[in-house]
Structures are given as structure tokens and as C-alpha cells.
Amino acid sequence: MKKTQVLDWLYRTAAFMEENKTYLTKLDTAIGDADHGNNMHRGFSNVIEQLPKYEEKDIGSICKAVAMVLISKVGGASGPLYGTMFMQAANTVNGKEELSGDDLKKFLKAGLEGIIMRGKASVGDKTMVDAYTPALAAFSDSIENGDDISSALDKAVAASEEGMKSTIPLIAKKGRASYLGERSKDHQDPGATSLTLMLTAMRDASKA
């Protein structure tokens, strides 16, 4: 994955967040506080506003800059979570101008670890971790089986979507939705949804 594709990923993510702002917020209205779409949109529209300043730098620096913007512009739970994800992921790709399949695997793995370090969620808690965990596993398997990035990302997106849908019947145990207990059932987790959008944007960028 070339640097231009990484940048393209970020632009596509921002476009997805704009398109899905109302949808994400609607999901967060059901089991949260009705701001996830606004949070993600605010974060990524700031990311692409700042991006021109960093486009010349290496992928690691770009992702660190993204992390800082998300941390300082998103707030809520998702701000520190996605911020830490980008920060930890960035640390694995310092100085790089292009990412191999293995690089991207490490990058994604560090990102998930960042989210878990920060939020202490496990699979089944009805969070973004429920989408990210199977997506990472699918991606890693695929790369280890010799697939190229683009088809590995196809599998990751499929797994993420499945993970996202798997949150529907769950009772939330982390984040705001956990206060609802039983009533959090039958709703899809907003964070798992935005995470899936982010991976979909990466997949699309890898093919463009």
C-alpha cells in the first residue's frame, strides 16, 4: 500500500463519515448519547483539513498527525480510542513510504492493541473491538496465506461487517450503552460500525 493510498484511505474515511454521520448518530441515539456520527465527522473533517500539511511526510508521521487531530477534535469515548489506535499503529510504520502486507498487518494489530489498552474491552462487550478483532484475524490469515493486500482487506471488511452485525443481539458491557443493560439488545454498536467504515475505506483505497 503506497503512501498515496494511505492518504486516499483517510480522504475516503472522511467522506464515509460525512455520508454516514446521521446513520452513526442514529445508532448512537438508540443505545448511547446520539453523538457518534457528529464526533466522527468532526474528527475526520479536521483530519483532512490538516492533511495537506503532512502529505509530504512519511506514513508514520502522517498517522501520528491523524492521531493528534482525532485526540484533540473528537472527544467522547471514540476520540481517545481512535486516537490511540492511530498513535500505536503509527509507531509501527515510522519512516515508511509504502506498506507491505506484513507492515499493514502489524499496523492494524498495534491499532487494535491501542484500543484495548485504552478501553479494556473484550470481544462480546458490544464495542468497536467486536468488529476489529475478527477483521484483524481475517486480514492476518489472508496475508499469511499469501494473498495481496487488496484481497486480504476484502476478507477483513467481510469479517468486520460480520463482527459489526454480531453486536446486534449483545448486551453492552462497556461504554455508555452498558447502562441500558437488556435494553441495549437488538441494536448495532455505533463504534463497530464506524470501524467497519474505516476498514472499507482502506479496502477501497487499496484498489484505487
Binding site: 448518530t25 441515539t29 448511547g32 448519547d33 446520539a34 453523538d35 457528529n38 464526533n39 468532526r42 485526540i71 484533540s72 477534535k73 473528537v74 472527544g75 467522547g76 469515548a77 471514540s78 476520540g79 481517545p80 480510542l81 486516537g83 485504552r118 478501553g119 448486551i171 458491557k173 462497556k174 461504554g175 455508555r176 452498558s178 447502562y179 441500558l180 443493560g181 435494553r183
Partner: protein, 360 residues
């Protein structure tokens, strides 16, 4: 940009927070300074040399908390996030730098995943600059029953009382360790429960956070327009107040773990804390709070019944606070907080304070 019509005194949703903060600055220039990039509010005379600085913050939409409590005898700084969205670490970091008077900073953090994480990151940033920082988590909402299968009890009404009491103690010269201990104690002694008659509308969304029928109410709500623990048919004042008050009084011991900074180990550690239940003979501060849209007259009705229930259960109300102090925009409903007091707590509750929303 087209504006969704909503019944709010606002201009474009994107500018709501900024314009309201400008209004605060204009109205209270004698007490506070509002900073705009990033947003934080400091007391006029900050930093106060040698005094531990108190910082709190959280999503906006709960006014007057926290900005209205900045000033002598309460907070040194408040960090307002977007409406119902935790503030970001740079806000608390800049605030810490602005108000640290050399004796360190106590961050009063309501127990919401976002608030906790953002304040944690902020504390790390400030600490890297050599500022002594402790974070104490407020989690007093008895509607949340367990801490194992949830994000734990939310920080609600006790937060207001903590800000007054610890503000008084900081003014009296408590060091960071003593102040942290007092803050922890007040949190353990305080319990709250809230209910809503109506939902509320965030400017960014323009539609209610939850739908609620004309004859329904929501019990066990937080303060973010999130739905509560259960939905019930509308009941009488006496029934509602009794249910809430008894929920607080009969709440069993509650144990949870929070991250605090260990100055010995120089790292975040998990600290376990247990609230002991109320006992006959306890004296309390009773705080009857409007969620924003309920008029103060109805709060006096609640207070009347709450006092009766307390008396019947051997709990003595020795101080009170009644009004809209920790709100959810224009939501109708109320919350009750009972805070067990001892001499130390009472002394600082009674201490002077001069802030936009609380004067004594």
C-alpha cells in the same frame, strides 16, 4: 447551510458552544476568563500560588456545571466539551498549565468512558510538563447496579457537591494528597438517582435523544439524554420521589476499581473502593436537581416528600441544594442526591464561594 428548525434559542448548531461561552465571558468577566482555543474557563485570579488547582470538565449541555462553578471556593478551571461529548485532552492540559499554582492539580472526572480516557491522557500530558496531577473519579448514580458488566456508575449529582466541598478545602490549604482523599470520601458518601419526564434535543441532531410517550417517564437516566434503566407509566410525585429516595437510601455497598496515579510508583494503579450503605442516624446534604426543563417549584414538591422519606428512615437532612445545577439541556425531570456528611464535609460545604452559578 440550512438549519433544521428546532425549538432552541440558537444560531447554527456549529456555533452554539462558542456563542454561549462568549456570553458567559461577557456576563462574568469579573469572575472568569474564557479561553477559546481550545475551550477552557479559568478563574480570574488563576493561578493561585500555593493552592491546589481544581479542574473539572465534561460534555456541555449540563450547565451551569462546570463552567458556572469556576471561581473562588470552587473550581480553578472547567473544560467544556461539545454538547454531550467529553472534552479532549488538550483542553485539560492547557487548563492545567494555566491554573497550576505549584501545588498540583486535582482533576474531578465524572465516570463516563470518554471523560475518564480523555482526562487520563490529559493528566499524562501535564505530568510530562512537571505538573503534579491526580484524577479522582466520581461515580454516584445508584441506577447503575454493578460495575462488572457495565462501565460502572455514572458521575451525576455528587459532582456538584464535590466541587463545592473540595473547592472549599483547596481554598483552606489542603495539599493534593489530602484533597484527593477528601474528594474520594465525598464520592463514596454520595449517591444519586435521576428520572426524566421528557427527552432533550441536542443542537447537532435536532431531534429528541429518545422518544417517550405522553404518559410515560424514564427512571434511572444519566445526564446525557441517554435513555434510562426502565420506562414506566407516569406516577405521582409521592410515588416517584419515594422510589428514588428509597433507591438511594437502601442502595447496598458498592465496590468498583478506578485508575488513580500512584506518586510512589510513578504509574497508574487500580484502586478499589467501597461505598458503605446509609445508616439510621446519618446526616446528609440533600440535593434536588432539575434536569433543566423542570421548574424549581416542582423541585420543592420533591424536596417535601424526599424529606419525609428520609425522616421515616432515620436520615437527617442538615443542608440542601435545590435547583438546576447539573442538567441535560431542556430535559424535564429531576435527580436526588444524598451525601452523608461529617464535620470536615460540612465545614467546606458551608465555606464561602463566589462563582457565576453558586454564591455563598
Amino acid at each position: 447551510m440550512e438549519r433544521i428548525i428546532m425549538k432552541k434559542l440558537i444560531n447554527h448548531p456549529d456555533n452554539v458552544l462558542k456563542e454561549q461561552l462568549q456570553g458567559m465571558q461577557l456576563a462574568h468577566a469579573d469572575l472568569i476568563n474564557v479561553h477559546f482555543d481550545p475551550y477552557y474557563i479559568t478563574r480570574k485570579d488563576a493561578p493561585v500560588k500555593g493552592k491546589v488547582a481544581l479542574i473539572s470538565g465534561g460534555g456541555s449541555g449540563h450547565e451551569p456545571m462546570h463552567g458556572g462553578f469556576v471561581g473562588k471556593g470552587m473550581l480553578d478551571a472547567a473544560c467544556p466539551g461539545e454538547i454531550f461529548t467529553s472534552p479532549t485532552p488538550d483542553q485539560m492540559y492547557e487548563a492545567a498549565k494555566a491554573v497550576d499554582g505549584g501545588a498540583g492539580v486535582l482533576n474531578i472526572v465524572k465516570n463516563y468512558t470518554g471523560d475518564v480516557m480523555n482526562f487520563e491522557m490529559a493528566a499524562d500530558l501535564a505530568r510530562a510538563d512537571g505538573i503534579k496531577v491526580q484524577n479522582i473519579i466520581i461515580d454516584d448514580d445508584v441506577a447503575v447496579k454493578d460495575s462488572l458488566y457495565t462501565a460502572g456508575r455514572r458521575g451525576v449529582g455528587t459532582t456538584v457537591l464535590v466541587e463545592k466541598i473540595c473547592g472549599g478545602a483547596a481554598e483552606a490549604g489542603y495539599d493534593l494528597e489530602k484533597l484527593s482523599a477528601l474528594c474520594r470520601k465525598v464520592n463514596q458518601y454520595g449517591r444519586s438517582m435521576g428520572m426524566a419526564l421528557t427527552s432533550c434535543i441536542t443542537p447537532a441532531n435536532g431531534s429528541p435523544s429518545f422518544e417517550i410517550g405522553d404518559d410515560e417517564m424514564e427512571i434511572g437516566i444519566g445526564i446525557h439524554g441517554e435513555p434510562g434503566i426502565k420506562r414506566e407509566k407516569m406516577k405521582s410525585l409521592d410515588e416517584i420521589t419515594e422510589e428514588m429516595t428509597m433507591g438511594i437510601i437502601e442502595d447496598p455497598a458498592y465496590t468498583r476499581k478506578h485508575k488513580e496515579w500512584s506518586f510512589e510508583k510513578d504509574e497508574w494503579i487500580e484502586v478499589e473502593q467501597t461505598d458503605e450503605p446509609f445508616q439510621k442516624g446519618d446526616s446528609v446534604i440533600a440535593f434536588v436537581n432539575s434536569m433543566g426543563g423542570t421548574p424549581v417549584s416542582e423541585l420543592y414538591g420533591v424536596y417535601n416528600k424526599m424529606n419525609e422519606v428520609c425522616e421515616k428512615n432515620g436520615i437527617k437532612v442538615v443542608r440542601n441544594l435545590i435547583g438546576p445545577y447539573i442538567t441535560s439541556l431542556e430535559m424535564q425531570g429531576c435527580s436526588i442526591t444524598l451525601l452523608k456528611v461529617d464535620d470536615e464535609i460540612l465545614k467546606f460545604w458551608d465555606a464561602p464561594a463566589l462563582t457565576p452559578a453558586f454564591r455563598r
